[in-house]
C-alpha cells in the first residue's frame, strides 16, 4: 500500500476540470471526494490511475513520481463509474482478468481461489458462470468492485462504486468495503454523493469545487468546521439551512448568510416559528418550519407531539456565518 500525492495538478478540457490541486492521501487512509456533478472527481481519479495525464503538476504514488507512467506501471485498481465489465466474458473471466495480466501472471489455482473468495465477499458467487451482460446493474457493479479487490494494488480508486445498489446491499457493502480497507491497511480514494458513505467510511474528506480542492480534513472537521458555504452544503442530512444573516440578529460585520444545521437550531426558546409539515422517519422526525416567511428544516425526537400549525420558538446556537463570496466568517 502507498501514499498518494498530487502536486499542483491542473487539467483543462473546454473547462478547467482540475485547478492546481495539491492533495496528500496518507498511506492506509480512506479519502472520500465530495462535490457536485462536474466538480472534477472522476478527473482526479483518472490522474492518479494514469488514464489521463495532468497538463501541469505531478502525481506521486508511494513517494515515486508516476506522472509519466502508464496505468499498468502504477499498479492501481479502479472501479469505474459506469460500463466496465468486459461484455464478451463471463463473470468469472472478468474477475480473473486482472490476475492473468502480464503484470501479475497468477497461477491458475490461485486465480480460482481468489476469484471464489472475492465473489463470496461480494455475494455474487452464484453468478460466476453468467455472461457479464446477463446481470442486473447492482450485480455488475459488484463484479467491477470485485475486479479491483482480487488484486493487491498500491491504491484503490473507486468512482461511486455503490451508487446503483439498493439500500440494503449498499449498507452491507459499505461495511464490507470499510472492513476490507482496514484489514488490508489499504489506501482508498473514493468518490461518492452519499452522505452516509462519506461520513462513515472516510478517514479524510476532500471537497472539490469546480476543480479546486477547497477543503481537506476529517469528516468531523469538514462537518463541524466548513471553510465555506459550499463546503458546508456538502455534508449534513437534512441539508444545512441557509438564510439571510440578519434574520436573527447578532450577525458579524460583512456576513450575508447564516448557516444552520439542525443541531444548530435550539428549540423551545427564542422567536416563534410555524410548524408547516412533519415527517416521521422512524428514528427521527423532520420538522419543516416557517420563520419570518423563510422556510427551514430541522429534526426533533422520533415521538414529537408537534402538529402542523403549532408554534415552535427557535434560536440559533453557534451558527456559521458566510460573507457574500461564500467564505466562512465564524
Amino acid at each position: 500500500m502507498a501514499e498518494i500525492e498530487l502536486r499542483h495538478v491542473t487539467r483543462r478540457f473546454a473547462t478547467t476540470a482540475l485547478d492546481d490541486v495539491s492533495l496528500t492521501v496518507p498511506d492506509g487512509s480512506f479519502v472520500v471526494l465530495l462535490g457536485p456533478t462536474g466538480a472534477g472527481k472522476t478527473t482526479l481519479l483518472r490522474m492518479v490511475s494514469g488514464l489521463d495525464r495532468p497538463d501541469q503538476g505531478q502525481v506521486l504514488i508511494g513517494g515515486r513520481e508516476v506522472t509519466a507512467l502508464s496505468p499498468a506501471e502504477r499498479n492501481v485498481a479502479m472501479v469505474f463509474q459506469q460500463y466496465s465489465l468486459y461484455p464478451h466474458m463471463s463473470v468469472r473471466e472478468n474477475l480473473a482478468f486482472p490476475l492473468k495480466s502480464p503484470l501479475l501472471k497468477t497461477p491458475p489455482d490461485q486465480i480460482a481461489a481468489k476469484v471464489q473468495a472475492v465473489a463470496e465477499t461480494l455475494r455474487i458467487a452464484h453468478k460466476l458462470d453468467n455472461k457479464a451482460t446477463a446481470l442486473s446493474g447492482g450485480e455488475m457493479q459488484r463484479v467491477s468492485i470485485g475486479r479491483a479487490l482480487v488484486r493487491q494494488p498500491t491504491v484503490y480508486l473507486m468512482d461511486e462504486p455503490l451508487s446503483s445498489l439498493d439500500a440494503k446491499l449498499r449498507a452491507e457493502l459499505r461495511v464490507e468495503l470499510k472492513r476490507i480497507q482496514s484489514d488490508l491497511g489499504a489506501t482508498f480514494l473514493y468518490v461518492t454523493h452519499d452522505q452516509i458513505e462519506a461520513m462513515t467510511m472516510a478517514t479524510h474528506i476532500g471537497v472539490l469545487d469546480h476543480g479546486r480542492l477547497v477543503q481537506f480534513g476529517t469528516p468531523r472537521e469538514v462537518y463541524e468546521n466548513p471553510v465555506s458555504l459550499y463546503a458546508a452544503s456538502r455534508l449534513g442530512q437534512p441539508r444545512i439551512n441557509l438564510l439571510p444573516a440578519d434574520l436573527f440578529g447578532g450577525a458579524p460585520a460583512g456576513a450575508t448568510t447564516i448557516g444552520l444545521r439542525p443541531e444548530q437550531i435550539e428549540q423551545g426558546t427564542g422567536e416563534d416559528s410555524l410548524v408547516r409539515r412533519i415527517e416521521h422517519l422512524g428514528d427521527q422526525t423532520r420538522l419543516h418550519l416557517t420563520f419570518r416567511s423563510h422556510d427551514l428544516v430541522t429534526v426533533t425526537e422520533a415521538h414529537s407531539p408537534l402538529r402542523p400549525g403549532d408554534i415552535l420558538p427557535i434560536r440559533p446556537k453557534a451558527p456559521f456565518y458566510f460573507d457574500a463570496s461564500g467564505a466562512r466568517l465564524i
Binding site: L51, A72, V76, Y86, H88, P98, S101, R147
Partner: protein
Amino acid sequence: MSYSVTEPSARQKWIAGILVALYAVITILPLVWIIATGFKTPSDSIAYPPKVVFQPTLEGYVNLFTTRTRQTPEYMAEHPPQTWAERIVAKYDMTIVGPSRFGARFLNSVIIGFGSTFLSVFLGTLAAYAFSRFKVPLKDDLMFFILSTRMMPPIAVAIPIFLMYRTLGLSDTHLGMILLYTAVNLSLSVWLLKGFIDEIPVEYEEAALIDGYTRFQAFRKVVLPQAATGIASTAIFCLIFAWNEYAFAVLLTSGEAQTAPPFIPTIIGVGGQDWPAVAAGATLFLLPVMVFTILLRKHLLRGITFGAVRK
C-alpha cells in the same frame, strides 16, 4: 431489438410475402440458369427455346478442368476410354491430354481475394482504431481524404496504375493484385470499422489498462472480440469486391497471377464458346463467397443492423 408496435394484418403479410417471393425469383433465376447450364451439353445450352428439362451431364465440368485433343477414329478404337471423364469426351472423338488452367486461375483468385481481404481488414482495423481513439492531427481531413479515394471509379486511374505496375514489375504478380485491391478496399474498410469501433465504449479498454495490460494487449483482448461483428461484415464486403473484380484483372494479369474472372470467358470449346464449361466455371466461382458469407452471416446481419440493436 425493437419491434413494431402494430402487428401487420394477415392481408399485409400476404402481400409482403408475395413481393418477397417475386423478388427472390427474379434475383435467383439467373443463378439457377447458370447452375443448370453447367450441367447441359453444348447443344442443349444454346437450344431455343431454352430447355428447362434436360439430361444432365458433367461434360461442362470435364471440359472446364481438362485440355483435350481430337483423335482419329482409328486411334480412338485402339485406345478405348478408361475413366468416366474420358468416356464423356470420347463422344467427340477426343482424349484428355492434361489439366486445364482453371485450377491455377481459381487458386490465384483465392490467394488474391483472401490475401487482399485479410490485408484490408488488418490495416483497416488498426487505422480505424487509431482514428477512433487517438488524437490524430487533421483527423477529419484525413478521414475525408481516405473516403475521397472512392469518389471516382477505381478503373479511372487504370492507365497510370498500368504504367506504374509495369515499371515496378508488379504487373501480373500476386503481390501486385493484392496491393491493388487492398488500396481500393482500404477506404471502405477504415470507414466501416471506425463506425464499429466508435461504438465500443473506451471504458472497456481503460479497465483493461488498469487491470495491468498494455494498450496493445487491451486492444487484442477487449476491443477485437467486440469488433468481431464489424470485422466480419467488413471482410465480406472486401472479399466480394476483390473476388469479383474484372477490369483491373483483365488489364494487369494475363498468366501467372490471372484470376478467374478474366479467365472464365476465354474458355473456348469446339466450334466456339463452350457455354457449359463457362457456366460450370461461374458456378464454382460463386461458391467461395457464398460459403464465406454463409459462415459469417450471423455477424453480417448484426453488422448491417448495427446501432439498431441493443448492445
